[in-house]
Amino acid sequence: MRLKNGALSTIFFFPAGIFMLVFLVYPIFLLIRDSFYKIDIINPSLREFVGFANYTNSLTSERFLKALWNTVVYIGVAVGFEFILGLILALLLSNAFKGSQFIRTLLLSPLMLAPLVTGIIWKFMLNDQFGIVNWGLYKLGILSDPHQILWLSDSRFALYSTIIADIWLTTPFIMLVLLAGIKGIPISLYESADMDGANKWHKFRYITFPSLIPVATVALLIRMIDAARTFDIVWVLTQGGPGFSSELLSTYMYKTLTRYGEVGQSSAMAVIFIIILLVLSSFFITKMWSPRRRHS
């Protein structure tokens, strides 16, 4: 079994490795290289080495910093709400009652929904003319005029409107992961707590919650990364507008590339973005991953 293991592993890994090399590793290499050049997408022969100019341009640009800040807000607010809502839902659904299985199944189906469709749904519902959200709030007496809140075209609300769509789309994911975590807690822990006369809150505080921490860490990490990469939802809902009020790093990079054709500039932004994400998540990774762990 041990003989020639390295060679065998390489043979099996080879086809997948080719794909990853050509379309993932090589692009990242290109990305880093391009970030030091000034490149015109229309005329790619115009390449000029500019050193760190693209980086300093980005880091001193107000628009970039705004997009960065918006991304941070987006991650914080969206993932925060998703976690709290997901936890509540998971705790509720962990109770067996007639139909709980069915409700769980129903809640799972939107997980397969395209972010694009989510964007369309909320674009429709948040519309200030014929959107059902404003009319609902008006009928409930919360708004005095059904056109009062311009969810997507008021710079104060645009970013948060996109966050609502994100929360709606991905809370079921957090719920699912936490639910699986709750089911993994040994029954004996609750039994012995019961014998000690623990109440519901104690059981949650001292058994359920601590047991969920490893699972929750993973779920939060995955969601944070995905929220940072959000593009579709924001693109459909606001395209980063009005102004730059809901501009995220992803939409700003896309515009820099396609509208302004500045490959070098957008590459530099992408590299900065990747570095930030790697630094943030390396904390989580070192906590949950070590090369020997899988085989121990």
């Binding site: 592993s9 099996f12 890994f13 997948a16 794909f19 990853m20 379309f23 993932l24 090589y26 692009p27 990242i28 290109l30 990305l31 391009d34 509540i88 509720l92 962990s94 109770n95 067996a96 009652f97 409700i103 199944t105 809640l107 189906s109 939107p110 997980l111 397969m112 929904l113 395209a114 694009l116 469709v117 369309i120 429709f124 003319q129 959107g131 059902i132 059904p146 699912l176 699986a180 089911k183 993994g184 609750y190 039994e191 519901k200 699972v215 995955i222 990469r229 593009f231 579709d232 693109w235 790093l249 590339l257 396609t258 957008s266 590459s267 990747i274 994400l277 090369p291 020997r292 085989h295």
Partner: protein, 295 residues
């Protein structure tokens, strides 16, 4: 034994929680009501989209909006074909998502098998690499991918999207399949080897068949990633290979006053998937939680 990861998804009837958390009937009732309300909150918007798509075209954009269609109509579904070549877009989505799923699941499974059986430390570093790849924002990798595809002269072809989706999905497929292969006892392929199979033969004849649930799970996820993709299709296609997501999004800009057909297109695009995922949700649950909850 090989099916272990599927079966340990979510325990069907967690009697212990009912009895330890909520002993009283009134509590159960409150929990039931709150759960139903929350479920409605999460399903409501999609149901609203579904109802809107069944309204007469003009009724989709009236103020005040109506919840229930005044009469059920397939006008929006008829119009969506008139406005855009939506059939072709769906076909493009199906071709690119389907082909890339087959490729990435097969190559991913091979790599995962190699890592699971033949390597310890190197394999773990491959895994770390897949984890790091997941952290790279798609938009940033899309920039150089676009340049590569352009230099290969493949812009606006199915082939380009298939290559891109396969590459994006291979690390993910490896990540998922490792868990399944680890749960297949080594005795299986060792026995096949003793009977004279080559390693490749043992993999194809023994390991792949017994990990069918894992392959199905991986296939569902890779297919969804390609099917739902918007960014790469937006960037790399223009007329010929444009997929349904980009096609649907064009309703937003092109027919701003007649959004009814767009809702019809969005429903046609997602309803089959929603219904499908309803039936295969066991696999989805195991796939989603495997990476997160294992160990």
């Amino acid at each position: 034994m090989a099916h272990a990861p599927i079966k340990e998804t979510i325990v069907e009837k967690p009697v212990w929680l009912t009895s330890f958390y909520f002993r009283h009937k009134i509590w159960t009732l409150i929990v039931l009501v709150v759960t139903c309300l929350l479920a409605l909150l999460f399903l409501g918007p999609y149901l609203y989209l579904l109802l809107t798509s069944l309204k007469p075209s003009a009724e989709a954009v009236t103020a005040p909006p109506t919840l229930w269609p005044s009469k059920f109509s397939i006008e929006n579904y008829r119009k969506m074909f008139e406005y855009l070549p939506i059939g072709k877009y769906f076909f493009n989505s199906l071709i690119t998502a389907g082909a890339s799923t087959i490729l990435s699941v097969f190559f991913g499974a091979m790599a995962a098998y190699g890592i699971s059986r033949f390597s310890s430390i190197t394999g773990s570093y491959f895994l770390l690499f897949t984890l790091v790849i997941r952290m790279v924002p798609m938009i940033s990798i899309a920039i150089p991918m676009y340049m590569i595809v352009k230099s290969m002269g493949l812009i606006d072809t199915h082939f380009a999207l298939i290559l891109v989706y396969t590459s994006l999905n291979v690390p993910f497929a490896i990540w998922l399949m490792i868990g399944f292969f680890d749960s297949v006892p080594k005795e299986f392929d060792e026995a096949a080897r003793v009977d004279g199979c080559s390693w490749i033969g043992a993999f194809i004849r023994i390991i792949l068949p017994v990990s069918l649930p894992g392959l199905a799970t991986t296939a569902i996820f890779t297919f969804m990633l390609a099917w739902n993709d918007f960014l790469f299709s937006l960037l790399m296609t223009s007329t010929n290979a444009k997929t349904a997501t980009v096609g649907i999004s064009e309703f937003l800009t092109a027919y701003n006053l007649d959004l009814g057909p767009m809702t019809a297109a969005a429903i046609s695009f997602s309803l089959p998937v929603m219904i499908f995922s309803f039936f295969v949700q066991r696999y989805i649950v195991s796939g989603m939680t495997l990476g997160a909850v294992k160990e």
